[in-house]
């Protein structure tokens, strides 16, 4: 089933020419509308709740394809991040984003007029594009998820990441909400972060596959010194290194997607952490090799390789970079003790 889904969604993106036209302002809207027509934007919400149903694995297929084509849409945020917070039923096919990062959370105060949200949410993806923002907040007793309409989110500072994707900072100042916009849960920020790390890991692994294909194509087509670049051993070894990274990244990301269904387990976040670390490393190597093989051509605006490599460089930093997740994993593994290592890997 996944293969058919994969083919369908890949064709949708390549027919649209998303990567080629990514600088046009309306590309994102057009793509979202097409995906919605095929009910792909409501994957992850049960059919009984007005969604298309489907598993995390189905969601990952769509997110990966979007990443391969550098599609400027909040599909990862919607299908892989917001879904894991259980908020999407209020708008099953709408674009969502999630505001969570390690460190300070905004605060929710219970007031006479209702729950009120205050505090800063930094560098939230796609706020200007989505309909809903799921904000993980601290209410004094624990953590909650607050569903805020995007138009109610006060933007303190607009910004972008290295790939030009919007990353705005929100500053809530006593935004009064209704009770039905607030949902409690256990360790929500950890859950949200793990889902976010998984989303970026899937995206990175998707882009890397496209980068590998493009690099092999270039090495076969570009001729210097009387033949294709790819016949030089130095080039072959570079590309082989890239291929190995792509394989490892894919394996790590796939494992994290499977583990999304077990996020409530005590160690449920570990596969996400490992995937983010591994894909981060692969992104660094992959971008370096791709640009080296593509030479000067790959540095021009026109060529378009940068649409892929900028995403690699941006996404490896976001939702916890290697240092953050590496430290988390290291702490967990060390505190469990040596005898727990093998069982923790194989259970």
């Amino acid at each position: 089933m996944n293969e058919i889904l994969d083919e369908t969604v890949q064709r949708l993106f390549s027919d649209h020419g998303a990567a080629r036209d990514a600088d046009r302002e309306t590309v994102g809207e057009e793509l979202w509308a097409r995906l919605a027509d095929l009910e792909m934007t409501s994957v992850g919400v049960a059919e009984a709740d007005g969604g298309a149903g489907g598993t995390s694995s189905d969601a990952a297929v769509i997110v990966r394809a979007a990443a391969r084509h550098a599609a400027p849409i909040p599909i990862a945020e919607t299908l892989l991040m917001a879904t894991m917070l259980g908020v999407r039923t209020r708008a099953p096919s709408a674009p969502w984003t999630v505001a969570v990062r390690p460190g300070e959370l905004p605060r929710l105060h219970r007031t006479a007029s209702g729950p009120a949200l205050s505090g800063r949410a930094a560098r939230v993806p796609w706020v200007r594009t989505v309909e809903w923002v799921a904000v993980v907040a601290d209410d004094g007793d624990g953590q909650v998820v607050v569903s805020v309409p995007a138009q109610d989110c006060p933007i303190e500072c607009t910004d972008v990441n290295l790939a030009g994707e919007p990353r705005d900072t929100l500053l809530f100042d006593h935004l009064v909400l209704s009770d039905d916009q607030v949902v409690g849960g256990v360790e929500l920020s950890k859950r949200a972060l793990a889902a976010a790390a998984t989303a970026r890991a899937v995206q990175i692994s998707g882009v890397l596959e496209e980068v590998l294909e493009a690099t092999v194509r270039y090495a076969n087509e570009r001729e210097q010194f009387g033949g294709p670049l790819g016949r030089f051993q130095a080039v072959q070894q570079l590309v082989a290194e890239l291929a190995a990274e792509v394989a490892a990244a894919r394996a790590a990301a796939d494992a994290a997607v499977v583990a999304l269904d077990a996020l409530d387990r005590n160690d449920g976040w570990r596969a996400a952490a490992a995937a983010k670390v591994r894909t981060g490393r692969a992104a660094t190597v992959g971008a370096r090799v791709a640009h080296q093989v593509h030479g000067a051509m790959g540095f021009s605006q026109e060529h378009g390789l940068h649409r892929l490599t900028r995403r690699l460089w941006s996404w490896r930093e976001e939702c916890g970079a290697e240092a953050y997740w590496g430290a988390e994993l290291g702490r967990a593994v060390l505190s469990a003790g040596g005898s727990r290592l093998w069982p923790s890997l194989t259970d």
Binding site: R101, D159, V160, G164, E317, A321
Partner: protein
């Protein structure tokens, strides 16, 4: 190897520092690809010329400073230290000027050298083509002989400063030949000749530092040939050998960048972080190594011991090292790297995003790392030529 400066060098350094302190502009000039920026950079070149600092590397008989490479290095260090502007006639002063001195006729020297020296005439380099990058000898731009002229047809790419240069020194194919290194002519082309079209070549970070130049039936006098017709490859190799002098101040810039990075780490409260400290320490060590390496290289050059292939070592070294510095800078800034906006808190000289991209391009421009490794292996280490 003597690491201490001679009294003459120390004196020169003090003078240069004083002059630069007084005349170098405060802050960055507008970018060269704007009218006001181009004008400001030209004014700066004129100031340098009037101060006697425009061409320290040129022999005195041609109006230069006649300075040895050690003194040139001192000036470059001071120049970088004060953050003085980009040298828009670096190709004229650094490459084609010395080439004309070595291979041009007396008439050609009189014709071109004064304009280069004063930077009243700006020069660009027409070597690379879409099908001739690393394999420069595969160049295809044709020059067909017609009496006292050549008719030039073809295309050059990655032409630095092409948008405003007055002249191009170009390699063109003047004869078909079984061996591609033969049949190449070194030709000086006025950029206002009819039939030349210059198009900006935008790089992935949005900057337009380069151009594509298209030639359609461009008539160039045969007297604009440097050396002999069909003997241009040999002269081109001389030009490339002059590129050696171009990175004399680089280690100073690198050290400044490491200092900036340390400041960033402190402001972010990351100076106690073990990973950051390791990364910064590594970069600091590299900066010291780079400085010592340059002192050693320059000393050897001054003694005439340098064969030129060591430049490949130097280039490989810093081009592999610089991206790591900017990677570390990005790590330190984390997802707060406001790369596309001038956020004062995260300010990095020359804008972090542009510096980052430029560092990434370093392993490709001026000879890819793969080519440099080949040169090191074959010419420096004497390993057998590749199959």
């Amino acid at each position: 190897m003597d690491l201490r400066e001679s009294p003459e060098q120390a004196h020169f350094r003090a003078q240069a520092r004083d002059w630069l302190g007084r005349y170098a502009p405060d802050g960055a000039l507008s970018p060269v690809d704007t009218p006001e920026g181009l004008s400001a950079h030209r004014d700066w070149e004129r100031l340098l010329f009037e101060g006697g600092y425009a061409a320290l590397n040129w022999p005195v008989e041609y109006g230069g400073g006649g300075a040895d490479v050690l003194t040139q290095a001192v000036f470059q260090e001071e120049y970088v230290r004060v953050g003085a502007p980009e040298r828009i006639n670096r190709l004229g002063l650094g490459l084609i000027g010395p080439t004309i001195m070595a291979h041009g006729s007396n008439e050609q020297k009189h014709r071109w050298l004064p304009g280069i020296l004063s930077s009243e005439e700006l020069w660009c380099q027409g070597f690379s083509e879409p099908e001739a990058g690393s394999d420069l000898a595969a160049l295809r731009t044709r020059a067909e002989r017609d009496g006292e002229f050549f008719d030039v047809n073809g295309q050059k790419t990655w032409t630095s400063l092409g948008m405003f240069a007055d002249w191009m020194f170009a390699l063109v194919r003047s004869s078909p030949s079984a061996r591609k290194h033969h049949g190449i002519t070194y030709l000086m082309i006025p950029m206002d000749t009819p039939g030349i079209e210059v198009r900006p070549l935008r790089q992935l970070h949005g900057d337009v530092g380069f151009s594509e130049v298209f030639f359609t039936d461009v008539r160039v006098p045969v007297e604009n040939v440097i050396g002999d017709i069909d003997d241009g490859w040999r002269i081109a190799m001389a030009t490339l050998s002059f590129e050696r002098g171009s990175s004399l101040g680089h280690h100073t810039r690198y050290s400044q960048d490491v200092e900036t990075l340390i400041g960033l780490a402190r402001r972010r409260g990351l100076d106690q972080d073990a990973d950051v400290r390791m990364a910064v320490a590594d970069l600091y060590v590299q900066a010291q190594v780079f400085r010592r390496h340059m002192q050693r290289v320059v000393t050897r050059q001054a003694r005439g011991e340098d064969e030129g292939f060591e430049a490949s070592l130097t280039k490989l070294f810093w081009s592999e090292m610089e991206p790591r510095l900017f990677e570390t800078a990005l790590d330190i800034l984390g997802p707060f790297a406001e790369l596309n906006q001038e956020a004062p808190a995260n300010k990095f000289p020359g804008r972090l995003d542009r510096r980052y991209w430029h560092a990434r391009a370093a392993k490709i421009f001026a000879g890819t790392s793969e080519i440099q490794k080949n040169v090191i292996a074959e010419r420096l280490l004497g390993l057998p030529r590749g199959a």
